[in-house]
Amino acid sequence: MDRADIIKRIEPVMRDVFDDDEIRYRDDLSASDVEDWDSLSHIRLIVAVEKAFRVRFTSTEMETFNSVGDLVDAVARKTV
């Protein structure tokens, strides 16, 4: 799956997790940009992305996600 397709599908996941219809995807979007993005919603986002793309991240991968772009890259690697 290419990045553009992933981004298109990940945006509604983000809106659902953060309950924010205004949220827009950016590669560098991170916890510092979203008010409700705390450690728990971070896990919720990762689990929701896993479910949406039917992938599973490792603990190491989860620790290296600093932005949504990192998440998209990881999904891209797992859905080639």
Partner: protein
């Protein structure tokens, strides 16, 4: 990975426009809220519905048929996600829940000190403890050490539950511990004293036999975890990254089990008579053929009624 309603297949999958439906409910509307709660909601959807319940709590308390109940959650791990799910799930079981908690890691202070913010403020204290806090996570293979560890854990739980009853003035909702997913000695774990599985099994048995008091609730989380699969229930990634005690996707079914107990506590238990009438009163199997596909009529084969002499019908 679970599907939309896979952990709770008896509930319909949440509608795609769930968020829109929720936003279209500005005024307290018990029937509409309970209708939304009847779907298999995920943890995010439950959280949003719970927020609405909190915002409309007073109005619902005064006007709805829901039974108000104040729940205190005392835990040794992260429970924010459980707290988010409980009020919405309570609707499904006829309970209007308000939840209070204390920081995790302060289990004893929460229920044994009169200055606890829970004192006199909650009807039920739910203990969400884990094997690490209870000293049952690491193997204790020296002679008698396993049994002693279980003794200490049960003694601790007795003190905590006694505090909840006497100091807090609440009933206790005690939870069994799920066995570990990863064995130490494989099939020998169950009969080898001191393995985590051996200790947890004994802890669970003794919890029910020695700690549970009259009016207390037992939430059998061990049974729940086994029913969905221990390998799926335990998620080491979320334990190590956020001290979540089980995989996030099982939050809804955990909350459902807790709220079933709380509903029963409030006398909201429901009795249901289930009759399998496939190929008896009607011909066909309604689950396979659908309402339109079954055959109804006098003498319809194979819908001929079974003689009443059949004791299994």
């Amino acid at each position: 990975m679970v599907e939309d309603n896979e952990p709770m297949p008896w509930l319909l999958p949440a509608p795609a426009d769930f968020r829109a439906r929720l936003k279209a409910l500005p005024a307290p509307d018990e029937a509409a809220l309970r209708g939304l709660a009847a779907y298999a909601l995920d943890v995010g959807q439950l959280g949003r519905l719970s927020k609405l319940v909190a915002n409309q709590f007073e109005a619902l308390r005064k006007t709805s048929g829901l039974s108000a109940l104040r729940l205190g959650l005392v835990s040794s791990h992260t429970t924010d996600f459980i707290l988010d799910a409980l009020p919405a799930t309570g609707l499904r079981h006829g309970v209007l829940l308000s939840c209070a908690t204390t920081p995790y890691g302060q289990v004893a202070q929460s229920v044994m000190e009169a200055s606890s913010p829970l004192a006199g403020q909650v009807d039920v204290v739910l203990f969400a403890l884990d094997p690490y806090m209870l000293g049952l996570a690491a193997p204790r293979l020296d002679r008698d050490e396993g049994a002693k560890a279980v003794d200490r854990a049960i003694t601790m739980l007795k003190s905590l539950s006694d505090g909840a009853r006497r100091v807090i003035g609440a009933a206790c909702a005690l939870t069994t511990l799920p066995p570990p997913a990863d064995p130490l000695f494989g099939d020998l774990d169950t009969r080898t004293p001191g393995t985590p599985r051996w200790m947890i099994n004994r802890y669970n048995e003794r919890l029910a036999a020695e700690v549970l008091g009259p009016g207390d609730l037992l939430i059998d989380v061990a049974d729940l975890a086994c029913s969905v699969g221990l390998a799926r229930w335990h998620d080491a990634r979320v334990w190590h990254s956020g001290k979540l005690p089980f995989a996030l996707e099982f939050t809804p079914i955990y909350a459902d089990h807790v709220c079933r107990g709380l509903g029963a506590f409030r006398g909201k238990a429901r009795k249901c008579l289930v009759l399998d009438l496939d190929n008896t009163l009607w011909g066909g199997v309604i689950g396979d053929d659908g309402l339109e596909g079954i055959k109804i009529g006098q003498g319809m084969r194979p819908g001929k009624p079974t003689p009443p002499s059949n004791p299994m019908r």
